[in-house]
Symmetry: C2
Subunit: 426 residues, 2 copies
């Protein structure tokens, strides 16, 4: 029965019962972490053989004879450029392969734009009093942190089931020269699991921003991270940009952090050759080059995109039951109550969960009291402020299923307590 | 005999003979690269066992149980912090261990200072119309490139046999608030092989710059890179800074690029805890953390500073004969001619060679014509401009000795041609 239709007395009875359950959880001294989209140890252990793919000095050469131990190959080794070109839908000469963190490449891309501008900039972004970025939300907190650090004003854009609200994106970018970019996680978005529709991708590629140096930060973090045998399909924005005579509009990012090892993966940027030439001149000053040996290790292990897709099937076998555990529990606990709704993603790392307005913070406070840490409420919005205080990012990947079950039992109790308190408060 | 005292006829005869030799070299179609301080393949091959130190998933844990495959440990693993603390003369909690490139850490340090300032800054360095850096020269071209990219005005400071000309450094820094830093390679400096004297280190640590956010960029790239059994000794500037109540004055950098593998080493920054806390907040936004597994690989192989010192002895065995080849040849060819002088370094990667004024560019042009690439003339000075056009950085490490001999034969011919042309031109 819909909770909002219950009498105060009925709600109070339920609340009393829930609070007892909550006390029971507290007495268990749990210490469970569901805060980040972090692969679990079980996922890390399925990659056996990559670390032994390079055992000695004679294993350190690429097919074309590059000695991966020494300096050089600023753009990454050709084999790695090829594999990321295939992941991101670009040509190998449109790819720069870096270190272990796509976040780092994204940060650096913004940092360089602030200091030096991008192709088409009249001046460095940092020379404006303040520039702005569009932030489809709920979104990825680390994107928003980068904006905040560089004092870039964030404009929240609503996420629809097809992607960002394009009417607003088109309107704002066409009017305001200070809007220099937009953050996108286009496939299995963080946290909502939404894959941008073809129409949204096309409209993004065809933007005519007032700022001639506007950029789409296309964080394709979950390009191959399917949870279903019928995966979502994402239109190739880079091709659409080229068709639209907007070849420089998009920077695309990907990494193997959730394919091989999170801390020891390989990350890459793909963009137009004109953008890339500018970036390479700057990166030449910044570094002696990426860790090519780790790139080679990945190539020796995965060989090509097929190898990656095979690996992702193994991940799916581990992840699908975890997502199902969460989704089944949510169905079970909240069906008919009308106090929560959530997405059922086809891939990615998160389930985006929404309470009735004003209950997210309180829910997570209650969870924390009982020893379960989740992504802080508001983290999925610019400045950490969810205007409706309702979105919670559930990250089911890290804990083993046994722990996940306990955490979800507790979570559901917390949601119900927070929502009933809110209903009683009206 | 001193060339300058010879008659024109004598010089012309010698020149004719030298030009014939130069033509002979040209006909050999050489392709030798002495442009960078790059370890040779022989040096890379002496590290056997590091790459197999981590072969499987069970090898990926630190002594304290950190899973190096996953996210986390932004500052690096404790064992790596310890070893760099020992190299740089700091405490482990004053160290941040990063990726494979100390150049990258230095660049990032400047980039952050430009965007956000440092501890004690009134405003970000980038908010001034123009800031300035002191550049002891000859120096490391990559330091100067960073300044140039960020439009930081470079002020050339003479290098003496004890280090930078401290009278000028003290005078300028005490007067000009826009001078925000100085680049130093304090041990076996690039290219001169000079180790800063105790007095210079103390005077640097006791600077009272007008800019409250002045920083010493202490690039201790060759801290353990001795070429002699009686190595130079460098006073610990960090301790001197602490004694002088200037704990935040210095950022110290080091890497294993020329200890393990150039492209696959580990780099670190050491500085005061106050500086480090500020930096960590910013780095948290920039990256998911360094490649901890490569750090662990280094720890498993080297164990501690002793292990590194043992490795450096092996490097010395390879490098000393290369340096001797160059130095003996220079002695042989130039003794008494009074057209060239050079340093005999006790360590590091370079021999700094000076012709009579106005002959460096011409020398390298002649070398290039005959197929030998060296560091471009002027590269060791700010803006790539050697005011006296005389300094040439000889990098003897990369070629095998057989090639080095040929390259040096040619080099000496080129120096003589350039100098005689200059003398005849007077």
């Amino acid at each position: 029965m819909e909770l909002a239709k219950m009498s105060k007395n009925e709600l109070q009875d339920i609340l009393k019962n829930l609070k007892e359950k909550h006390e029971e959880f507290k007495s268990k001294n749990l210490k469970l972490d569901m805060s980040r989209g972090k692969p679990g140890a079980d996922q890390l252990d399925i990659i056996e053989g990559m670390l032994s793919a390079i055992k000695s000095n004679k294993d350190c050469f690429t097919e074309y004879g590059i000695d991966c131990r020494n300096y050089g190959a600023l753009e990454g080794i050709p084999e790695a450029k090829k594999i990321f070109a295939d992941i991101l839908g670009a040509n190998p000469d449109e790819v720069l392969v870096g270190g272990n963190s796509s976040l780092n490449i994204m940060y650096d891309t913004i940092a360089r734009a602030m200091s030096f501008g991008v192709v088409g900039s009249e001046k460095p972004w940092g020379k404006y009093d303040k520039i702005k970025f569009l932030c489809p939300s709920p979104g990825y907190d680390r994107h928003f942190s980068i904006c905040q650090l560089f004092n870039i004003e964030m404009i929240t854009i609503d996420m629809t089931a097809q992607g960002p609200d394009m009417d607003t994106v088109e309107k704002l970018t066409s009017q305001d020269e200070l809007i220099k970019g937009i953050w996108c996680v286009p496939m299995y978005s963080n946290p909502e699991g939404i894959t941008f529709s073809d129409e949204v991708v096309k409209r993004l590629a065809n933007l005519k921003p007032k700022a001639k140096d506007f950029r789409i930060m296309w964080d394709n973090a979950y390009a191959v991270h399917h949870l279903s045998e019928k995966p979502d399909k994402l239109l190739n924005i880079f091709e659409e940009c080229k068709k639209a005579n907007n070849p420089n509009l998009v920077y695309m990012f990907a990494s193997t952090s959730k394919i091989s090892y999170p801390g020891v993966g390989v990350a890459a940027l793909a963009t137009s050759r004109e953008n890339l030439e500018q970036i390479k001149k700057q990166i030449f000053v910044q570094t002696i080059g990426p860790d090519k040996l780790n790139q080679l290790r990945h190539i020796k292990y995965f060989k090509d995109l097929n190898g990656i897709n095979e690996q992702m099937k193994k991940h799916r076998k581990i992840l699908k039951p975890k997502f199902d555990t969460v989704l089944n529990k949510l169905d079970e606990e909240f069906k008919g109550l009308e106090i929560a709704y959530w997405n059922k993603p086809n891939g990615g790392y998160f389930i985006s969960f929404n309470t009735i307005d004003g209950c997210a913070k309180r829910t997570l406070e209650l969870a924390k009291e009982a020893g379960v840490t989740m992504t802080p409420a508001g983290a999925t919005f610019p400045y950490g402020k969810d205007p409706n205080d309702r979105n919670i990012r559930i990250a089911p990947t890290y804990p083993p299923i046994s722990e996940l079950k306990i955490a979800m039992d507790l979570f559901c109790v917390c949601v119900k307590i927070a929502c009933i308190e809110k209903l009683l408060d009206k």
